[in-house]
Symmetry: C2
Subunit: 337 residues, 2 copies
């Protein structure tokens, strides 16, 4: 018989935060990290939930992140809000910058948050959701470390370079997507390896740059971008905009500095925010109401909106608590020590 524990969200947050504080994180760093980890667990995104704690702690122990960093905020009369994460995790940096990003976006119609010098391990959807809660659209992207070959290439150069978008909806969860620009996340290849299963074709190359369906050879070789040369181009754009342009590392440099793919990399992040009311200029009425025609069309055609499953899991977690298995409970107990 397998037992499960239902945690009220706030209780799981306190527990996770305690783990990070025990590991040397400041209260500010620990709280911001714990919010996104618990949000992942709450939304049924196991890949970005408590499963991530171990890697964060490993990164702290390896001295690859400043666990008590105090990020600093720079705001001027431009459209760029700048946060220096001071070598800490990206999460506290984002939280510091968000009010300024929202204010500049409302003033100018369009603004950007640049996060520099951060360690990044989390999903991007909590960020674009937070922007959508301000009534703004958000587009977030960042490099990673080099594990993906560009289309036509044979060895890793690009990161899995995630991209997330959020659009606010009145009286509803926002429209949100968040995905890696590789065909699959690295964790999915690892899961195939553990299960002894072959990869689907088109996911990866071996160390010689030849197509492979072996998870071991893929992990020693390169992943492929989603959507062939188009996905590869988008991933390249992310390297440029959220790496070189913001004066931070691209994925190859992040890997060179880190020296391993088992820790979380240090680089930057770029987040754009748009004020639909300003952009619409009063044409065609309320842009949010207008957008609903599209969502009705997508669902009316039998398709799903990208985050529907996540929002359903969230509703369940809010009502019943977050469900953790006995194994997950044991893991949490071990991490607390």
């Amino acid at each position: 018989m397998t037992e499960t524990t239902f945690f009220p969200i706030a209780e799981l947050f306190e527990l996770v935060k305690e783990i990070f504080v025990s590991a040397g994180c400041s209260d500010g760093q620990a709280a911001a990290i714990s919010r996104v980890i618990v949000a992942g667990e709450r939304d049924g995104c196991k890949s970005h939930g408590i499963y991530r704690i171990e890697g964060c702690l490993r990164t702290i122990r390896a001295g690859k992140v400043v666990p008590d960093a105090v990020p600093t905020l720079g705001v001027d009369d431009s459209a760029i809000v700048r946060v220096d994460a001071k070598g800490g995790f990206s999460n506290a940096a984002f939280e510091l910058g968000l009010p300024a990003l929202a204010a500049r976006t409302r003033a100018l119609g369009l603004a950007a948050m640049v996060i520099n010098n951060c360690t990044h391990f989390s999903a991007l959807w909590p960020e674009v959701e937070a922007i959508a809660e301000e009534g703004l659209a958000g587009l977030a992207m960042c490099p990673s470390y080099a594990t993906v070959a560009p289309a036509g290439g044979r060895t890793p150069l690009l990161g899995t370079n995630p991209m997330a978008f959020g659009w606010p909806r009145e009286n509803n969860h926002p429209y949100v997507f968040d995905f890696a620009t590789s065909v699959a996340a690295r964790g999915e290849i690892e899961l195939h390896r553990r299960a002894g299963k072959a990869l689907p074709e088109g996911w990866a190359l071996d160390a010689n740059g030849e197509p492979t369906t072996s998870p071991e050879q893929a992990l020693a070789g390169a992943m492929l971008p989603f959507g062939g040369h188009k996905g590869s181009a988008i991933s390249t754009m992310i390297e440029l905009l959220a790496g070189a342009m913001i004066g931070d590392a691209m994925s190859q440099e992040a890997l060179d500095v880190l020296g391993t793919t088992s820790l979380a990399p240090n680089h930057g992040e770029l987040i754009l925010a748009f004020d639909p009311q300003k952009f619409s200029g009063g044409r065609k009425g309320n842009p949010l109401a207008h957008a609903e025609i599209l969502f009705e069309g997508i669902m009316g055609h039998g398709a799903r909106l990208p985050s529907q499953r996540r929002f359903a899991a969230r509703a369940k977690s809010i009502a019943d608590g977050i469900e953790l298995s006995a194994a997950e409970m044991a893991q949490l107990r071990e991490l607390r020590q």
Copy 2:
């Protein structure tokens, strides 16, 4: 024996412009359209070259575009530069807005050009190239008319929604990509139909929403987005940002108004511009020099940069003139009458 004619670029421009002026276009509209059509032909992009003239003329004759529209520019202290194309082609509107977009981007680091109420038929790469010539990065996108089913859907709702990106390079052509967010362009399906060839799998659905490799059934059904649910999400983002957000038509509305896919649709366009010098904030030196590491990596891995073939064709056209076949010459003569 097939004869070809080599046209100096300026001569072909005058010839194409004359065709549009004869069709009722103002000098300003005709010149802007002709510049992008001749640029397509010059760069070996036959799909966006003189082949497009006929569709433009059809759209003019059908009264679906204002051939002598005078676009208007609105600039304020926000990050949004607004051009009302007044029902004309997008090209003259873009040319009007570009200097203001560049100026606002240099002032703020980030700015957007919104084009409203335009008829759009051309490639987006000339626009992001023009932005890159200003030393800025550019990201352009627009809806189209509904011919693409969202991932998981069965009937058209999204457009082929192109997206183009340009990054300036010192003493070199910019890094540029420009692609439809459908697996294939509609013209490619038409070419398969004419050649009596089956489509690759994964390109299209028939009118019942079932996968098909028949070009005829695909044209009566729906195209599919590139990259599955990820490409579908990006296409949806383009509908939102470059449709609903800017107070203009989304692809389903554009098709409803136009009533056919044989003419060019009326909608809007969104163009973002970034100033790398402002974004880099002096970190890691010159962001353009920094980015070269990535391009060297891509080419060093045996992959190509997206527009290399186009730039090679351009060099040849500049040296030798634009090569037109006897059939293309005959077509041009016919269009002039």
